[in-house]
Each structure stands twice: as structure tokens, then as C-alpha cells.
């Protein structure tokens, strides 16, 4: 999906700490706001973000309506081995998006 922006280094030295930044397009509707007709707009948020490095979970975040629209997350990871980092966002209304980036460790 083109609605995801991931910033991670393409290569890293073994043992180096790399920063991974991820941005996804999503309204993060809180479920507390009245819409134009006065009724509350139903909640539609991303509830969970996970990052897996070659299948092993290295980071996860449980989100709440207090996370801004188009959620941005940055975290660090130790470059242990070459492989793919798989980022996954899941949330209300069956929302599920996955994106992967390849990192070469030398």
C-alpha cells in the first residue's frame, strides 16, 4: 500500500543501533466528536502497531484515540542479522496494513 512511509537504513554494521520511523495514512477518528449532523462519528483508530525483525517481535505499541491522525512512530533496533523488518498496523473496522523493509547487516 502506498499509504505507508517507512524510513530505515538500507544497511547497517552488525550490532549497530538503527532508527526506524514509520508513518501511515489513517484518520484516527476518536469516537468523541460529533459530526456535521450532530451524531457522534464512530471510532476508527489503529489499535496496535508491531514490528518484527525476521519474524521476531522487536517492538509493539498499543495506541489509543489520543494518537494523532496519520500515526507516526519511531523506535530503535539493534541490527543483529540481515533480513526484513515487517511492520503491521491493525485497528478498528478490520483495518490491517503490512509493510516491509529490507536491511542488510554486514
Amino acid at each position: 500500500m502506498a499509504n505507508v512511509l517507512v524510513n530505515a537504513p538500507k544497511s547497517a554494521k552488525r550490532g549497530a543501533i538503527v532508527e526506524i520511523k514509520a508513518l501511515i495514512l489513517h484518520p484516527m477518528e476518536t469516537g468523541f466528536r460529533p459530526g456535521p449532523n450532530g451524531t457522534i462519528i464512530p471510532r476508527n483508530i489503529i489499535e496496535r502497531f508491531t514490528a518484527r525483525w525476521n519474524g521476531a517481535e522487536i517492538f509493539s505499541m498499543d495506541m489509543s484515540p489520543a494518537i494523532s491522525a496519520n500515526p507516526f512512530v519511531s523506535f530503535f533496533a539493534v541490527a543483529t542479522e540481515s533480513g526484513t523488518v515487517r511492520l503491521r498496523w491493525t485497528g478498528d473496522q478490520g483495518f490491517a496494513v503490512e509493510e516491509q523493509v529490507a536491511i542488510t547487516v554486514e
Partner: protein
């Protein structure tokens, strides 16, 4: 519709955005105790970085960093962030491990009012560390006019 009734109607409308029960310092304390149980929290080791004066509460950059060696024996297991005055006290809970190398998490949050933000870090030895920051919000999130 006469003028008096019209004015009464608009007064009700103006109050509507405040209708959802707001989180309070008490509900934040309750949310914190749900996460940490009866364990004590020590101030320190955690740095909560966000601007003290916020013009737009819809996107507030926030970074939590914890002073930790992040080794298998001594690392940060989780970082939780709470607020006092949004409709709900939780902001996020992040799970970390020694695989992160650095206990730093950044994101952008919404703030509905001027309030105190609290970050709590859980280390692998079961201890809890915290930091808090008071922020002033000039334009609150969630109050933009959708009509």
C-alpha cells in the same frame, strides 16, 4: 423560532463537544494503577520530551527516552504514557526489549486541554520509573467545527 429559543438552542450546541466524560487526575491515577498494580513508581531515569507551549493540540510531537543499558539482564520492558484531561487517560503503551538497543520511542499525540502528561517505564527488574511534564495547549484537539 423566536430569538430566545434560538439562543437557548445554540447554548446547548456549544456545550455538546464537552459531553464525553473527560479524564481527570483521578482517572489517570486509576489508569496508571491498572498498569502498574501496587508497585511503587520512582521519579527519574525517564525523559519526557514535548513542547511546553503547544499551539495545535492535534499533533504534538512527543519523545520518551529512558536511561537504560538495554541488555538482556537490564532493559526497559514497556513505556506507558498517560494524560489528565483527554476523554481517555491512556495515550499509548509500547513494549520493548533488549533488541531495541535504545529505549527511545517517538510519536505524535492529541491533547484536548492544558494538562500534565506522565510517562512510566517498566524495567526488566520489575521497577517503575516515571517523568511528567506540564503543557499549555492553545488550540485543543477535537474541537474543530465540522458543520
Amino acid at each position: 423560532m423566536d430569538r430566545r429559543r434560538f439562543l437557548a438552542g445554540t447554548a446547548v450546541l456549544a456545550v455538546l463537544p464537552l459531553a464525553p466524560a473527560a479524564a481527570t487526575p483521578d482517572s489517570m491515577a486509576a489508569a496508571i494503577s491498572r498498569v502498574i498494580g501496587n508497585a511503587g513508581v520512582t521519579e527519574g531515569r525517564v525523559a519526557l520530551d514535548l513542547p511546553p507551549l503547544i499551539e495545535n493540540g492535534n499533533t504534538v510531537p512527543l519523545t520518551v527516552s529512558v536511561d537504560s543499558p538495554m541488555t538482556a539482564a537490564d532493559h526497559v520492558k514497556a513505556i506507558h504514557v498517560f494524560n489528565e484531561k483527554n476523554p481517555q487517560p491512556n495515550v499509548f503503551s509500547a513494549r520493548l526489549s533488549e533488541r531495541n538497543g535504545k529505549a527511545v520511542v517517538g510519536t505524535r499525540i492529541k491533547l484536548g486541554d492544558s494538562q500534565r502528561i506522565v510517562a512510566i517505564a517498566e524495567t526488566s527488574d520489575g521497577k517503575f520509573w516515571s517523568a511528567s511534564a506540564d503543557v499549555i495547549v492553545t488550540l485543543a484537539a477535537c474541537l474543530e467545527d465540522l458543520t
